[in-house]
């Protein structure tokens, strides 16, 4: 049979469509299954009560609060450093070896396995600095982990501000810092916000970095200070699905649903901000 380019194109496109379905379909099924089986578990009591009977009954309130503390702490630490670092890269750095090394360091920071962050947090914060397994140690570990996300997205946001804006500001006699502070930053805020929220979502879902730095197996009370251990949603899900026998399937799916909703909600906000401001962009 003679080679028919039109037909091989159809075959090729069909297989590409198939490959795309192989990704899209399971994602849809996973999200659908968690929502369908998780919804019956969700109630006001489930969200606001302490776990009881070794986590086989009751709610997940301390895990929700713990996650909230951890994520807030991570952002408090990572946002200022990340933003200033992004300002350095976009406004000050010259195209030289040092800049190249910084960029490589960011790439590597983003690539370090999450469990290695856990080890690092254990060695530095828990043991060396004697913070113990605490919200402080966990937040700092998560903060360093999401630093590359914040730097990269903030830098993109800063660099997307047209160069002419800066020139206009300088020509009016503003200093370099005044230009950054009053011209570049305000125009880059949506992008910075997007990156920050994505970082938050990432920190909320990670388990490995908090394993040995903060996470408490079962702690049916709220943390009192940043030097307290805390429960966290992702670790709680891990614990009730692998470590504790005879947990009602409903509780597992319910916890998975709360965690997934939290992470997806933050991603949704980030997408909305990005979309909204792209439409409003003045340049």
């Amino acid at each position: 049979m003679k080679h028919n380019p039109k037909r091989s194109q159809n075959i090729a496109f069909f297989f590409m469509l198939l490959a795309t379905f192989l990704i899209v379909l399971p994602v849809g099924l996973i999200v659908f299954a968690i929502i369908k089986k998780g919804i019956p578990a969700i109630s006001w009591e489930f969200l606001t009560e302490m776990p009881r009977q070794g986590m086989r009954a009751g709610g997940i309130f301390p895990a929700i609060i713990g996650t909230f503390y951890l994520v807030s702490g991570a952002i408090l630490f990572a946002l200022p450093i990340g933003l200033l670092s992004a300002i350095y890269l976009s406004e000050y750095a010259k195209d030289n070896l040092l800049t190249r090394i910084i960029k490589l360091a960011i790439v590597n920071l983003a690539g370090v396995p999450s469990v290695v962050y856990g080890l690092f947090g254990l060695a530095l914060f828990v043991i060396f600095l004697k913070f113990g397994a605490s919200i402080l140690s966990g937040s700092l570990t998560l903060g360093i982990m999401i630093l590359p996300i914040i730097i990269t997205s903030s830098r993109e946001a800063l660099e997307s501000v047209p160069y002419s804006f800066r020139e206009a500001s300088w020509s009016l006699g503003a200093s370099k810092w005044q230009t950054i502070r009053y011209v570049v930053l305000p125009n880059a805020i949506p992008g910075i916000l997007t990156g920050t929220i994505l970082g938050l979502g990432r920190a909320a879902g990670e388990t490995a970095p908090i394993l040995f730095t903060v996470a408490a197996f079962y702690l049916p009370r709220l943390p009192k200070s940043i030097f307290d251990q805390a429960m966290a949603l992702p670790y709680h899900l891990y614990v009730i699905s692998t470590q504790v026998p005879n947990v009602d399937e409903k509780i597992r799916y319910g916890t998975a649903l709360v965690l997934l909703s939290l992470v997806l909600f933050m991603n949704l906000i980030a997408i909305v901000i990005r979309y909204h401001f792209r439409k409003k962009k003045k340049w």
Binding site: P5, L109, N267
Partner: protein, 287 residues
């Protein structure tokens, strides 16, 4: 006064600019500080090539070869599954899909990358693992194969989005030239676009591999965690990452076992460093 304030701020900016380098060095230093001492007792070669991982027996046997092979096996499986599917999906999104569906597909792939690893591990435990057990008539569904499938899904978003970027960055004129010569769209894609985007696609694959090797929670939940050298994909394995995550909670700080887990951390750090540097070289080759 204002000058003074500004110079302080600028110094702060420069310090923060260097923060990434500082943290990478700090991570490496603390891994080395805690992990290096194991090589004094176990020896570097015995540690890497030792076939027995019995960290709490007396004396402890600290050979991580089974863990390295476990990681490699799971990674190999995940790459075999995710690379063809991921690249095909990237081409479909970048070239074939109508623009309205394109945004939807991209959003779905992004959604996949946002799902926390522990949630995917949980879903894998309750659905994938029993399926594998029944379909292949295995004593347990907690195998390297199950891990590979789950990890393939976690590598896919990375592969798709970076390969897609690589395809977009191929100049339009290349494709137009091919089409003008009478090539079909598909011929233009695989004879012109794919070769032109090859270094970017290679980088996408490398970063996908990096994602897979470093993945922890999902593998720990579905690969069975047996620290023996596997002979097939359908046996339980234990990966480097899962070993740290599963065992660190129970070790005594300062014990040989504790140091050995940090030494595994050093191995992981070096692997991820090499993968990321290589991927970065591929990414910057084009520009």
């Amino acid at each position: 006064m204002r000058k003074f304030k500004e110079s302080i701020i600028e110094k702060l900016i420069i310090v923060c600019g260097l923060a990434s380098i500082f943290f990478v060095i700090l991570i490496l230093l603390f891994l080395l500080k805690e992990g290096l001492s194991v090589f004094k007792t176990a020896g570097f070669v015995d540690f890497i090539l030792g076939r027995k991982w019995y960290p709490i027996s007396e004396p402890a046997q600290l050979g991580i070869l089974p863990l390295i092979i476990g990681s490699l096996l799971v990674t190999f499986g995940a790459v075999v599954i995710s690379v063809p599917i991921g690249v095909a999906c990237a081409v479909f999104i970048a070239e074939v899909a109508p623009s309205r569906i394109k945004e939807l597909l991209k959003a779905t792939v992004e959604l996949l990358s946002a799902i926390p690893s522990v949630v995917l591990g949980f879903v894998g435990m309750v659905t994938l693992v029993p399926w594998i057990k029944n379909i292949f008539h295995l004593p347990t569904g907690l195998t390297a194969f199950s891990g590979s499938i789950m990890l393939a899904f976690m590598a896919m978003p990375t592969i798709v989005s970076i390969a897609e970027d690589a395809l977009y960055s191929v100049p339009k004129t290349y494709k137009e030239g091919a089409l003008a010569l009478g090539a079909t769209h598909w011929q233009a894609i695989y004879r012109v676009m794919l070769p032109a985007a090859s270094s970017g696609i290679l980088a996408a694959v490398m970063l996908g591999i990096g994602r897979v090797i470093g993945e922890t929670m999902a593998v720990m939940m579905i690969t069975g965690n047996a620290a023996v050298i596997p002979t097939s994909l359908f046996q339980p394995v234990r990966t480097l990452t899962a070993t740290i995550a599963a065992e660190m909670g129970e070790t005594v700080v300062g014990s040989e076992h504790y140091f050995a887990l940090f030494a595994i951390g050093i191995v992981l750090f070096i692997i991820s460093f090499l993968i990321n540097v290589t991927a970065d070289l591929f990414l910057h080759k084009k520009r």
